[in-house]
Every structure is written in C-alpha cells, then in structure tokens.
C-alpha cells in the first residue's frame, strides 16, 4: 500500500528531506532497482530529475484527459439517440475519471492538485495537441473514439509497465476503460456507414480531418525528440516512431472494414519492412497547435478556467460547511 502527501512537506525544495538530496550512492542504488525491473514507490528515494520528469508527464497526461472532455462534451446534448447519448456520457465521465486517477498519481510526487491545475490554466503546462481541433459533426465523435482513443491506447499500454508504481497502476485502470472508448466509436461509425450516402460522406469527412492530427499524437520523430533518460528510467519504453508505426499498421485494416479511405496517397504496404509506409507529417501544423495557435486552444482553456472560477464558491462553501460540522461535533463530544 502506498499513501501520499505523507512526510512530503511542500514548502521548500531543500526542506523536502532525503528525496531532494542528490547522492551518487543513492542514484546507483536507484538505477540498479530500475535495471532489476523493480517499481519505485512514492516515498522511495529518487533522482530529482526523475521526479520532475514524472510530474511533467503525468500532469500533462491528466490535463489531456480533462481538456479531452470538451470536444466530446460538445455533442452530448445533440447525440442522435438516447443510446448514443448514454454511451457518450459514460465515455466523457470516464475521461474525467482518468484525469482524476492521474492527478492523484502526480500528487504522490509532492505537488498539490491546485499547483497542477494552475499550471494548466495559466498555459504553463501543455496538454495533447489533438484536443485543439473542433468537433464539427456527429461523425467526429465516432472518429475520435476510433482514432484518437485508439492512438491513446497505443501510447498508454506501455505505460502500464512504467517504473513509477502509482503511474503504472493508474494506467492499468485507464487502459481497461479505453478499449470501450475505441469500440464504441468504431461501432457508431459502422452504423453511419450503413446509412445514407450523406452519412457516409460525413464519416469520410471526419476521417479526413482527424487522421493526420491523430498520428501527430505520438509526438515528434525520434531523431527530434531525445528521451534518453525517460527510456533509461523505464518511463518511456517504446519510442514515438515505433508507436506511430504500430498504430498505422493496426488502423489500415480497420479503415478497410469500415469502408473509408485514409487521406494519405503515400500510404502503402512495404513488404521489405513488414510495415505500412506513410507520407510526411506536417510538423509546422503540429508545433503551431502545441504553441497555442490551433483552432480551439483559446476556447479550451477559457472553458476550463470558467469551470474552475465558477466552482470556487462551491469549493469554499463545502469546506466551510465541513469545518463547521467538525467543530459542532467536537463541542457535542
């Protein structure tokens, strides 16, 4: 069992106790544990850089889950049937849950929930670029489930074996739920493809818009993103390009069964490599979205900030009520 927030004073870095002390002997011991495939738990000694890398990665991941509720939430009131509405509600609720599992995992590293949240709201922390694209029609909801959640699953499965225990456990929980997300999306698309020509066009249009952003979700090419330490410490076990290739290979068949075309003229089987080749990714678009110039960046943060600000009085009132009740019980006792 682990507990969090115990013996982790949040004041000053140098008051943080032994975990902030950089020591070659501790580090050698730590590396040996990683090499032996052991998990690291919250109160164990860890290099400061390991701690910081994890806080950044886990909180970005949590932010992505929470911001990811917005594009889909956009369609809850307009789902085409009660069945699809119930499914979409459950999925969006899951994404909220994923955010909460992950924030809790990040907090075991000695940051507070409010600090993490403020980093998102101030724009200091990033979230996945994919959620800065708009959801224009109902088919977008199906395509998000199929491609966006599909890409997320590829990314997340290796994280179930991440060296940091609380993160790995949170990811096991997340991955169990993601499979439902991908399947419900594909199922919704299958149904549309059995409909009218207009509905099939909607699906193809949504695929055209989401395909490239989906494969950008795996991040820059390996040659442009150095994760030496993440790999050494068992945080990132499979590289961006390898994950992207796996995703493309898995998706081609699914597109065929669905009856849609993936919008890439260079996509073709390479027998020599045993993989599909695909066209060049527009990295300028990726970086401009990451840096804040995507179609929805401003809206997404504004929506999160509004939710946070509008909820402030509730958070305060609930706490005041709890304190009053506790004081009364004390008097009564």
């Amino acid at each position: 069992m682990y507990t969090q927030a115990l013996d982790i004073p949040q004041k000053d870095a140098d008051e943080r106790g032994p975990r902030a002390v950089e020591s070659p002997a501790y580090e050698a011991e730590f590396n040996a544990r990683i090499d032996a495939g052991e998990f690291i738990e919250p109160k164990d000694w860890m290099p400061e850089k390991y701690r910081k890398t994890l806080i950044r990665q886990i909180s970005q991941h949590a932010h992505s889950e929470i911001v990811g509720m917005l594009p889909e939430g956009n369609w809850i009131t307009r789902a085409p049937s009660l069945k699809r509405k119930a499914i979409l509600l459950a999925k969006v609720q899951d994404e909220g849950g994923h955010g909460l599992y992950l924030y809790a995992a990040a907090e075991t590293l000695g940051v507070s929930r409010d600090e993490l949240y403020e980093a998102l709201l101030s724009g200091k922390a990033k979230y996945s670029s994919i959620f800065n694209y708009p959801t224009l029609n109902w088919a977008d909801i199906g395509v998000i489930g199929w491609l966006v959640d599909g890409a997320a699953i590829m990314n997340q499965i290796p994280l179930c074996k991440c060296s940091y225990g609380p993160y790995a456990r949170a990811m096991i929980r997340v991955c169990k739920e993601e499979s439902f997300h991908q399947r419900q999306g594909y199922d919704a698309l299958l149904q549309m493809m059995k409909g009218t020509a207009g509905q099939r066009e909607m699906v193809q249009d949504a695929v055209n818009r989401w395909w490239w952003p989906s494969i950008m979700m795996f991040g820059p090419h390996d040659k442009d993103s150095i994760h030496v330490e993440s790999a050494r410490w068992g945080i990132k076990r499979i590289s961006n390009d390898d994950l992207r290739q796996k995703f493309v290979d898995a998706t081609v068949k699914q597109a065929e069964v669905l009856g849609v075309t993936l919008p890439d003229p260079d996509l073709k089987w390479n027998a020599e490599r045993g993989h599909y080749d695909f066209g060049a990714i527009d990295w300028d678009e990726f970086w401009s979205v990451v840096k804040g110039d995507g179609q929805c960046n401003v809206d997404r943060i504004a929506a999160r900030r509004k939710a946070w600000d509008d909820g402030a009085w509730v958070r305060e009132a609930a706490l005041a009520f709890a304190e009053k009740q506790a004081a009364r019980e004390k008097v009564a006792a």
Binding site: M1, Y2, T3, Q4, A5, L6, D7, P18, E41, K43, D44, W45, A90, Q93, D94, G97, L100, Y101, A104, E107, S112, R113, D114, R169, A170, R173, E177, R315, A318, L319, F321, A322, Q325, A326
Partner: protein, 95 residues
C-alpha cells in the same frame, strides 16, 4: 490569494464479499460523506466494488522505506516458518 485545498482521502474498495478492501487510489473531498460519494463516482463506475472505505491520508501512518532492511529482513532466514521446510516420509508428505 490564500487557498485551501480539500483534504486528500485514500480509497479502499472491497470488490466483492469474501475479499479484503484493497487500496485503489485517492480523492479530494471536504468531508467523509463527500469523500465516499466522490470515491464511488471515480472508482466504481463498472461495478468494481460492493463496499468503500475512505481514510484521511494524513491519518495514515506508514513505515519508512529506508527502514525496510531492519523491518523485513529478519524474516528472510526463518525458513522453518514454512511448511516446505519439513521433509516427511513419502507416504505422509501430502499432510
């Protein structure tokens, strides 16, 4: 601005009767009643539990990982505490 976060609670869930409550994560909530409510929404959306415990994280006392050797190593050389230590005659060894 002076801010106060809702306290942290550790959540334990019994997945079905006959099994122990097992730690599964944590939530923030202002009081025990809301901690239970939030834990239910966050950790049992798919019938993962029949009973929930929430414990204020600050009330949990945990052992120090650096004390692992003195706490747990002494058990290492007491192999006679295990049934497999005793080699009995074949006819009765399944005892």
């Amino acid at each position: 601005m002076e801010r106060k976060e809702w306290p942290l609670w550790e959540v334990f869930i019994r997945s079905r009767n006959g099994l122990d409550h097992k730690h599964c994560g944590s939530v923030h909530a202002p009081d025990p009643r809301m901690a239970l409510q939030v834990a239910r929404d966050v950790y049992t959306r798919r019938m993962e539990g029949v009973s929930i415990w929430v414990v204020k994280a600050s009330d949990i006392v945990a052992s120090d990982p650096d004390a692992k050797p003195e706490l747990f190593d002494p058990a290492e050389d007491k192999i006679y505490r295990h049934p497999t230590f005793y080699k009995l005659p074949d006819e009765v060894n399944h005892m």
